[in-house]
Amino acid sequence: MEVPFEEAAHAGPACPSGDELARLASGMIKEEAAGHLLDHIIECDHCGPLFRGIVDAATAETTVEEEEILAGLPEPDRVREDARALSRLSRAAGDDQAESGRDGLDVRAMAPIVVTIMAVAIGAWTVSGLLRTPDPARLLATSYSELRLIEYRIPGASYAPFRQKRGGALVLPRSYSEALVAIQALRKKNPDDKSVPRLAGQADLVAASHGAAIRNFEQALALDPNDREALSGQGAAVALRGAADDRPQDLRTARDLLRRSIGIRRTPDSTFNLALVYERLGEYQQASDAWSEFLNIETDPGWRAEAQKRRAEMENRQRP
């Protein structure tokens, strides 16, 4: 049963937390506290329908359709890989503590973390466990180049050939896990740091998780609509969604986002991404022009070679 809705009602400062509502719906709360919460819920246009929905979710039988979705959960041989990731996370030190061989865990010798589709939806955080907090942007650029799962670029990444993600476990390099830890450290240091959602979105792009990337870039742009890197990243993420879900409108939106980014400042990564989007839209002349503009500002031989190849292909397509 889907909870039907009409006009929007937003949460207010008096609204209980998700944890309180969940504990109430699950019966894991003291009676006195339950009474106060219920008094709020019956009068609140936000909490009322929300609570009804989660009570229903908590009590209803799993339907056949839901069972089919659940059947997509990781196979047992991937469970071991998930377990390694969880073991790592559970042993990470909290706050500013350093993780330095406690309980026999040698950070320096730690193998790359193996994650499955469950953990590929990045939009989440790990707890800082390193002795220092290196630059997350640099770490992300490194991991991008080690993986290059997407054709679109992120700032600062060295050239690497594109490797399409296949089924099976995704092996994320150590630089990636260190980037996540560094992002978390930034967030803990300053919860209002505007760079955090942008960096999180870029981390999602590196792992080819466009859904989570879009959500994070949306947050970044809500904080700063003129964040050039967030505009460029959002353009790439939306373009990926457009290709994955066959949504031409997404490609047009991506084009506009990238143009806005370039309007603020033209960079190699945003120009590269715009050229790709023009290709996907079938706007071959514009793509060819964008590749030319890119070649005017990019010095890396690897990226230049790819751009030259693509520009030549665009010119071929325009020939009668």
């Binding site: 809705f5 699950s26 019966g27 929300l50 059947a71 969880l86």
Partner: protein
């Protein structure tokens, strides 16, 4: 999915039991209780302990995630994956502080505990992604209430708000706080008597809830009849 079933009991407060089918692909180490598995993860945190943890609790976490996603119109696969991952991160945060707070109260309470954690994560997830809107179910419930009270259904928002206020004023006079909550959970939120009975602080069974509702309705009909008749007269309706 077929295979062995693990039945987990409800939480304190009369929570309804639910069945979670554990796929045969998740073969568990039967010598360990769920509570032991949690303790192993907290104390040792080895990959083997977590492997057992995922096998045990993934189904209940996943089921909570997908059921919540469906009820709020989210993309089930994507939301399920996100909620599962965020649940595991909540569990492992701060050296598994959440797991350390777990106190077994009855057999299989571990599953209820995990379900509550997943539900908490899912609730926050929904709040971030869905504009929680006024509930047409609520409107329909209030229309039913108007019919029951021989008042007019199909009122506009302003008229309905006045009616609700009048009813609530009377409720505060004639009903205990608990009964008032029962009344509005039923008529405003559209919850069933069965679901209401399962909530903490209610303390009565489904039949008891139905009795409360009928009793209050009867009293309200008597108390509000003059006001309702006056309202009809002002609107020129018989």
């Amino acid at each position: 999915m077929t295979g062995s079933t693990i039945r987990y009991t409800g939480m304190p407060g009369g929570y309804l039991a639910n069945m979670v089918k554990l796929s045969t692909k998740y073969q568990v180490n039967q010598s360990l209780t769920p509570e032991h598995v949690i303790q192993l993860c907290v104390d040792r945190g080895t990959p083997e302990a977590w492997e057992e943890f995922v096998r045990r609790f993934q189904p209940v976490i996943g089921a909570t995630a997908v059921k919540t996603a469906r009820r709020f119109g989210l993309n089930c696969q994507e939301a399920m994956e996100d909620i599962i991952q965020e649940t595991y991160l909540k569990i492992t945060a701060n050296s598994c502080a959440v797991l350390r707070s777990f106190i077994p109260t009855r057999e299989d309470s571990a599953f209820g505990f995990m379900k509550t954690i997943a539900l908490s994560v899912a609730t926050d997830y929904v709040r971030r992604r869905v504009a929680i809107k006024r509930d047409t179910g609520k409107t329909a419930s209030l229309d039913d209430l108007s019919t029951e009270l021989a008042a007019e259904p199909g009122l506009n928002d302003a008229e309905r708000n006045v009616q609700v206020r009048e009813i609530d004023e009377k409720l505060r006079e004639i009903a205990t706080p608990r009964d008032r909550r029962i009344f509005w959970l039923y008529h405003r939120l559209g919850m069933t008597a069965k679901a209401i009975a399962s909530l903490p602080g209610v303390g009565i069974k489904e039949k008891g809830v139905e009795s409360v509702l009928q009793r209050i309705l009867n009293e309200l009909k008597y108390l509000l009849a003059p006001a309702i008749a006056g309202g009809r007269s002002r609107r020129g309706r018989s």
